[in-house]
């Protein structure tokens, strides 16, 4: 079993730290990672369940909020105040004339 421990140790040495992996996982959502970044991240995720969770949760966050104005209930609760409504109405009226 010593060889196994050594192999895992060697892989671990090539893999980025968790802190670095959180940054890479975020950037992977915004840009193409370089080959070595991708390789290191893959290796890290293979070894680390915390960072796998982290990545899943970032993707959940993205899919949850994407296009969220389609769902009215997700927006801020308070609408236009009566005064603001009146101001906009008047402005629209005067632009029509």
């Amino acid at each position: 079993m010593r060889w196994l421990r050594q192999a895992v140790g060697a892989l671990g040495a090539l893999s980025p730290t968790c802190k670095r992996a959180t940054r890479l996982q975020s950037e992977a959502m915004d840009r193409r990672l370089s080959f070595s970044e991708k390789l290191g991240l893959r290796l890290h995720l293979f070894l680390c369940k915390w960072c796998r969770r982290y990545g899943r949760q970032l993707k959940f966050l993205r899919s949850a909020v994407r296009g969220c104005e389609e769902h009215e209930s997700r927006e801020a609760p308070q609408g236009l105040s009566p005064e603001a409504r009146e101001r906009i109405k008047q402005k629209l009226q005067s632009s029509r004339e």
């Binding site: 730290t17 968790c18 802190k19 670095r20 959180t22 940054r23 975020s26 950037e27 959502m29 915004d30 840009r31 680390c48 915390w50 960072c51 969770r53 982290y54 949760q57 970032l58 959940f60 966050l61 993205r62 949850a64 909020v65 994407r66 296009g67 969220c68 104005e69 009215e72 209930s73 997700r74 927006e75 801020a76 609760p77 308070q78 609408g79 236009l80 105040s81 603001a84 409504r85 101001r87 906009i88 109405k89 402005k91 629209l92 632009s95 029509r96």
Partner: protein, 186 residues
């Protein structure tokens, strides 16, 4: 206006967080819609057409704001949860297991829960204005990074840092205030 005023205002409030600015954006949206209104035929798509105009107006607002003061914010969350990573030794930079990301049970079920969205709005409200703005442009509107950088006159690297910290902070906040409590209202 009667039909969509509230809805557009809510959208604008989520982005701009300031009732006066949101009101302006809604007003400009209706003015632009009036001008271009004749060309618009399909009523079913009216709402998304108005939302499209509103988004442009909000982008104009950010553009103006970024000309007055730099949009980059590298202060927020600069420690990037440092206290949750091992500080030194062979495992430096690894999650301290009890403080690392916890399992979120069935997160998809939260999407239909109004209280989840209340928690989300609270968390999003804790982000600084500019950080929330880039997060919304990127994740809610799905704009690409280069476009956001041009609009706000910030570097790509700074955009990535801001997005990384926004995601990290939101994830942490939702875990603490929602998922960590079993997905129940706090």
């Amino acid at each position: 206006m009667e039909l969509y005023g509230d809805f557009l205002f809510k959208c604008a409030m989520m982005r701009l967080r300031d009732p006066a600015h949101a009101e302006d954006a809604v007003q400009e949206t209706f003015l632009a819609a009036l001008k271009g209104g004749q060309a618009f035929a399909g009523r079913s798509a009216e709402k998304s057409w108005l939302v499209g105009i509103l988004k442009n107006k909000i982008c104009d607002h950010y553009r103006r704001a970024s000309r007055e003061t730099p949009f980059t914010d590298l202060e927020f969350y600069a420690d990037e949860e440092r206290g949750r990573f091992v500080a030194e030794g062979a495992f430096q930079g690894a999650w301290i297991h009890e403080l690392g990301p916890q399992e979120w049970p069935n997160p998809g079920a939260s999407l239909d829960n109004e209280e989840f969205w209340q928690a989300y709005r609270d968390c999003s409200g804790k982000l600084p204005k500019n950080v929330a703005a880039v997060f919304n442009l990127r994740e809610v509107d799905g704009l690409d990074g280069k476009g956001i950088c041009r609009m706000l006159n910030i570097s790509e690297n700074n955009l990535w840092v801001m997005l990384h910290r926004a995601r990290m902070a939101l994830r942490r906040c939702l875990e603490t205030n929602w998922f960590g409590k079993g997905g129940e209202a706090p």
